[in-house]
């Protein structure tokens, strides 16, 4: 049994603010300089919803990584960030870089203590978690993009929904929030 188990976690808890702050900086580097500055510095969550969401949710995600088993908070927090990135002007890999860049941040912050104290095993487990986190983000990203296409279809229908209903007998209201011609909704 590895007697050092949990020590890396303790170290990360002690340095949580610093590491999360470094992660936030790295994530915001993907925006233009002036935009990143605004996202970081404006603290009002209504004046700056993007920055506020990043600050809040990166911290939450970090907390989840430190848990033995993650809770529903993890997908919720990842969703909050990915939902924003999916409609900003990024390629998929750029959009999800918020999560992949965490490995770089962790290496920079933890390499030294890990080497010093022999926490390699726990560190590898942590990196596996970051990989899982990135995979979770991929799933959510794809769902967000699918949602966008669904909304496009929906809007095209709703724009002339009254005409469709009265002239073509097609009631887009019956189909819920989806494509009325898809398999899911055809069973309704």
């Amino acid at each position: 049994m590895n007697t050092s188990q949990g020590q890396l976690r303790e170290y990360m808890l002690q340095h949580r603010d610093k590491i999360v702050n470094e992660w936030l900086d790295a994530a915001l580097q993907t925006y233009p300089e002036d935009g990143a500055k605004f996202f970081k510095e404006q603290k009002d969550q209504f004046a700056n919803p993007v920055g506020a969401t990043f600050s809040r949710e990166l911290n939450n995600i970090f907390g989840e990584l430190l848990r033995e088993t993650s809770s529903q908070q993890l997908p919720d927090s990842v969703d909050a960030i990915v939902r924003i990135r999916a409609v900003q002007e990024f390629s998929p890999s750029q959009a999800l870089q918020v999560f992949t860049v965490l490995k770089d941040v962790l290496r920079a912050q933890l390499d030294k203590p890990v080497q010093e104290h022999g926490w390699q095993a726990e560190y590898r487990a942590l990196e596996d978690k970051v990989d899982q986190l990135s995979m979770l983000a991929v799933d959510i990203y794809v769902k967000c993009k699918e949602k966008m296409w669904e909304l496009r279809v929906r809007q095209a229908q709703e724009r002339v929904s009254y005409l469709l209903r009265k002239y073509a007998g097609v009631d887009v209201r019956d189909s819920g929030r989806g494509d009325p011609f898809s398999e899911d909704t055809a069973q309704d």
Partner: protein, 537 residues
Amino acid sequence: MANPPSTDTVVKSIDYTMPRTDWMEDIPPQFIPNNYSNPAKPDQLEYFFGYKGAKEWLPTHEDWQLPENWQEIIYEGFRERLEKYRSLKVFMDICVRCGACADKCHYFIGSGDPKNMPVLRAELLRSIYRKDFTTVGRILGKLSGGRKLTKEVIKEWYMYFYQCTECRRCSLFCPYGIDTAEITMLARELLNLVGIQTDWIMAPVINSFNVGNHIGIPPHTFKDIVDFMVDDIEELTGKRIDPPINKKGAEILFIPPSGDYFADPGTYTFMGYLMLFHELGLDYTLSTYAAEGGNFGLFTSHEAMKRLNAKMYAEAQRLGVKWILGGECGHMWRVVNQYMDTLNGPADFLEVPRSPITGTVFQNASSTKMVHITEFTADLIRNNVLNLDPSRNDNKRVTYHDSCNPARAMGLFEEPRYVINNVCNHFYEMPEQTIRERTFCCGSGAGLNNDEFMEMRMRGGMPRANAVKQVHDQYDVNMLACICAIDRVVFPPLMDYWVPGVDVTGVHELVANALVMRGEKERETDLRGEPLPGKEG
């Protein structure tokens, strides 16, 4: 299989670093599918503006098919407008780059793209002005912040002036009162001169001018739609109503936004208008030609705006009405309230609006002769004319979005809230920095509510949605009320993406739900066919 790119490679693939000098020339706009609005067709421009020689082009193409003398056209157009509009010259000269506006634009807040800071967006135009229309600029050139008019500048204008929704939130914070929406309007007008315009704006402009509404619904179809609604209303209330169309000599001409009679959920708001007017026994008429309050001319040129505004008044004159009642429309109210008088007014052939029901004279509309329907209805409620049962809306937990133009261009804050509070029992305000004059735009105004732009609109509308989310989470709000037809079209997808579980309504849909009509049967459902509270089983 190739190795996936390393994180470092991906990081390096994003180069947003702002160069310290010449940033506007050094970062050309990147047009990719879904980040621009599709261009207008050459025949649309020729038809409406008499613009000859336009060719097909696409933003993703290198060559935008500009006319040979495009620079001369822009310069001459700019010069002419600087002389004609004193405000433009003032706005070009007076900005001190204090930055008060910088972080107030919903597109900047949602994207972090500095060229969406209103000050920098205006700088895209101002830099050309400074270089060629000021003495210091002619001498000092780049040192004074000027730059050459190149084809890249035209592309940049198209990118960023078509990311401005002309909502004027930024103007509220400008110590000099610079109206960034007017800068956008003028920049779009200049682009228009060289054949650069969007289809989503030109098609509605032409349809509205020729036929009477944005999607070109012909008069007989308009009549059909009204008849369909009459059937729906009868089914709901047991009452058969007979809305007058093109009735000469009526006292009032009612002009709705057309979105309210072909697109859900606006259709329920339109039914609400009809039910209210019937209950009042109002002597009014609908018109098949003035069947559109929306003025997409505002998004393309003063000329188009003037012509679309004029047709409403021409129709009022033809029908011989006394005054005009306007529906829950957005941009129409900016045009009527702030430009109408110098475009086409004053409308001396009409009378100062006076409610035939309460006797209230609407002095605020003494020049334009046009009253907003929430002013009209608020007055009815104030005078206790309507029999209302707000409990019929008890399954709706409502918040209110101050639609930009009625809010910031005519100061309409209290009347919609007064109406909502009298027809609903559950009303909750969003955070104060996001409502009233500081309201966040839906992200889709000024002709940006097209399909291809939807992803951009999601980020532009994010600050609004974020405030809705707050009241959704805190008070379980499930209904977003608004008084603009564009809002009613674009909020459903915006809510569905950011705040699932919040639906969208016009104020007069809520009014009609609560309105107890004389002799009506016991209602089982609301206007949408959903069971009324207590009648679910």
